[in-house]
């Protein structure tokens, strides 16, 4: 069946079950059910429920994780903050993903972040975020990321500003790499989600800050293998990010994005951020152009900011 023909059939099918599935607005294109999805956007459920539904839509975790694979999960564990502050990735969600990978037969699931804790304070962040507990309970293993000696030199051949980086060994030593950022405001990058989360994979962040940080973020993503991106937007910190201030600007927005395209995931995330900001009258409703690492990443061929090019599905659990 040709693609165009199929689309027609799908449209008829969608129309026929329209009352059941609650079809979305006119601009929202129906997904191509014959092809695996590139992106699932979810709304309205608890973080774990949204993941379970979303990954099922994507074809199950088995689509990405094969038996005996070494899986690396990279959440944002930057800050010594508790889960309700939305400063780190939701620990329950991280736990659910780790457990899912183990169930799919992964040899081991490893989890790390180069946290923002200086010296030997990194461990407090693993603990306070609740992620260490969640990962270990789900059968995964936490790996440290705060000793320079463990980082290895890596060329970034496609990099424009960033040509070399000292990267965490787990960025390479894995079969599957799952990027699990949390969506929040960021004083430097405006918004942090998937691409910006990779600053926790490398050693010398100061250098990036000094040498056109948005370009460095895009550069790094040309090299980093990404199997899957899961953006946790259950709680969205609208102001004073990335560390966060008053809890009143942390909104329980209940969104999640699961995608094989990291740039698309960020594009969707930025739009969700802007819409939540507008609805709540807090923070800044950024436009795509404000997020200066998106265009360079697209230009370097990492992914697309044009969501219409994707086979995308929107799911509301509300």
């Amino acid at each position: 069946m040709k693609r165009r023909e199929f689309l027609g059939t799908a449209a008829v099918a969608a129309a026929s079950v329209g009352t059941l599935t609650r079809a979305f607005g006119a601009e929202a294109k129906a997904p191509d059910s014959a092809k695996p999805l590139d992106l699932v956007a979810l709304y309205g459920g608890e973080a774990v429920a949204m993941y379970e539904r979303g990954i099922a839509e994507m074809g199950g975790i088995g689509r990405f994780v094969k038996k005996g694979d070494v899986v690396v999960v990279k959440p944002n564990i930057g800050w010594d903050k508790t889960p309700e502050t939305g400063a780190n990735t939701n620990p329950e969600l991280v736990g659910a993903v780790v457990a899912d990978c183990m169930k799919a037969g992964a040899k081991e699931v490893l989890c790390f972040d180069h946290t923002c804790g200086p010296g030997n304070d990194w461990d407090s962040r693993y603990k306070m975020s609740g992620i260490r507990d969640a990962v270990e309970k789900a059968g995964g293993k936490m790996v440290a990321g705060n000793t320079e000696s463990m980082y290895v030199d890596q060329d970034i051949p496609k990099g424009v500003s960033l040509k070399h980086a000292k990267v965490h060994p787990l960025t390479k030593q894995c079969d599957v790499f799952i990027n699990m950022p949390v969506l929040k405001h960021h004083s430097g990058a405006k918004i942090t989600a998937a691409l910006k989360n990779y600053m926790g994979c490398i050693w010398d962040r100061r250098w990036w800050h000094q040498n056109d940080m948005p370009q460095c973020i895009a550069d790094y993503s040309t090299w980093q293998k990404t199997t899957l991106t899961i953006v946790d937007a259950y709680r969205v910190m609208l102001t004073d990010g990335p560390r966060g201030g008053d809890l009143s600007s942390v909104i329980t927005a209940k969104y999640q994005i699961i995608s094989t395209d990291i740039v698309a995931a960020d594009t969707a995330a930025v739009q969700i951020f802007a819409s939540v900001a507008k609805q709540n009258g807090k923070g800044e409703a950024y436009e795509l152009a404000d997020i200066k690492y998106l265009q360079p990443a697209e230009k370097l061929g990492v992914g697309t900011t044009d969501l219409s090019k994707l086979n995308m599905k929107r799911v509301s659990l509300a």
């Binding site: 979305f24 956007a41 100061r206 509300a318």
Partner: protein
Amino acid sequence: MKGFALLKGVRVLTALAVFCLLAFVFLDFKEAAISNWAAHAALSTQFAPSLLRLLATGSLVMGAVFILFTLLALIFGRAYCSFVCPFGILMDVLHRLSRLPARLPLLKKTNFAKGWGNFFKKPAYAAPKNYLRYGVLAVAVLLIAFGAAGLLGLLEPYSLFGKTMTGVFRPALIATVNTLSGWLYARDIYWLDPVGVEGSLVTAHAFLFGLFVFVGIAIAASLRARVFCNTLCPVGAFLSVFSRYSLFKIRIDKSACIGCKKCERQCKAQCIDSQNAAVDASRCVLCFNCVAAADCPRDGIRYGLKKRAQKPVAEQKKSRSAAALLDRRAFSKAGVGLAGLACARALGADGALPMDEATQNVSPYPLKGTRPDKRLCSPPGSLSVENFLEHCTACQACTSSCPTGLLRPSLTQWGLAGFMQPMLDFGRGFCVHECVNCARACPTGAILPLGVEEKKRVKIGTARFEQKLCVVVTDGTDCAACAEHCPVQAIEMLPYKPEQSLYIPHVHTSVCIGCGACEHICPVRPHQAIVIQGLAKHETAQPFTDDMRLFKPQTAKPAAPAQPGAADNPFPF
């Protein structure tokens, strides 16, 4: 004798417990020891820190340990020296170790053992060095009087112990752990987490000084056991003034003594003069080795109250040297004088921080090679730079409990008299918002206890931002690393070039607590664009409130167009 063997047993067990707990405090690279009640209790048993805490707070409760051991010295003798002084216990351990080779079963009957035994002789009586030890005591009293606790810490045994543990053994331990961890990590085995260290494991001067102390005391202890305690130790000299008159003493029954020297050879303090059947109670460290050994053939040595039929000993006293007589009078007076001084300082402690109203509240300590407006801070809980420097003996309990390595022993940054007193080096780390380890650790009152919530508002310094150095200005690129790390929202990003979506930091100085996160993370070199200017006297910072915001984005930006999706589409795309 059985009873005395029991006393010695209690002494050994207490000493080992205190020693292990204190070693735990200084070596624990997980910084958990400081939250352990037993380790914390061991920290508070120390004599000189207790005196300084008394002076810092003016509270007798804070000085309870100082008062207790002084009274104990008057009743039982120098209990502190053998039961809880970690440096003394270290000497005991080293002394025993130095005897070990000659005792090994394999070597026992060889010439090597004989030679070794001849070199490391058993202790023998030595004359007291009164001018030396009381001279040191006088110096110590002057140092306290002039608020030079840092220099006192170069003589005082607990602080010397801390310096050698953190200078040599702690980095050695961490290096071992990290080597092992790195080896395992390289083989994809993630059992042992490495210890995060920014920069070098230990500063050169801290290592060299720690090594100097350790090697020095190892030699001294091997050759002459507790020689330090009766020559250079100011605590030993102070307690000796009291133990000289203690009710309970080691006593030799002169009528029984045959001068066999068996007890003398047991005496680590070299204070048993078996020739004259006399024990110098001022130098006795109360280890009970002599009475516990039970090898006196005539059962003529015991520990206890004075017996009536002991006139010969009383006569013996008269034949003492002129020096001993002199120090008896002079130094009992010195003891009273010191006590008086202690009280005077304790009373004055409340008003001991004169602040010249005319001068600005800025720390007078710049840091060579950095921006001139950068000034050294004292840690939260220390109230002021002056209070900190006056009461800190540089024992390093705080530096070894600091999770970021921010607190480091200084070289001359606090001046020569501040050698080894900790300073906040934002190049190494920043003060973790939720952490009060140093305040919990400090036994001397240089850093006073502080609750976590209270600490979050203690202002030890102010961030000073130099716009022309900032990468936003010099490179025209985004950064905001400082605002990102600020735990109290003292740094707000204001529009700099709105058309390029470029923002620049602004410091709300009344909100800033001076934790140094911004300076630590600022990528600009050689001088950071944002540095901490320490306060001379700590203040209380204001919490950030929404009305302080200078930039209110939703009003500043034109309203965005309506959402593209239909009403039933919860997604904006």
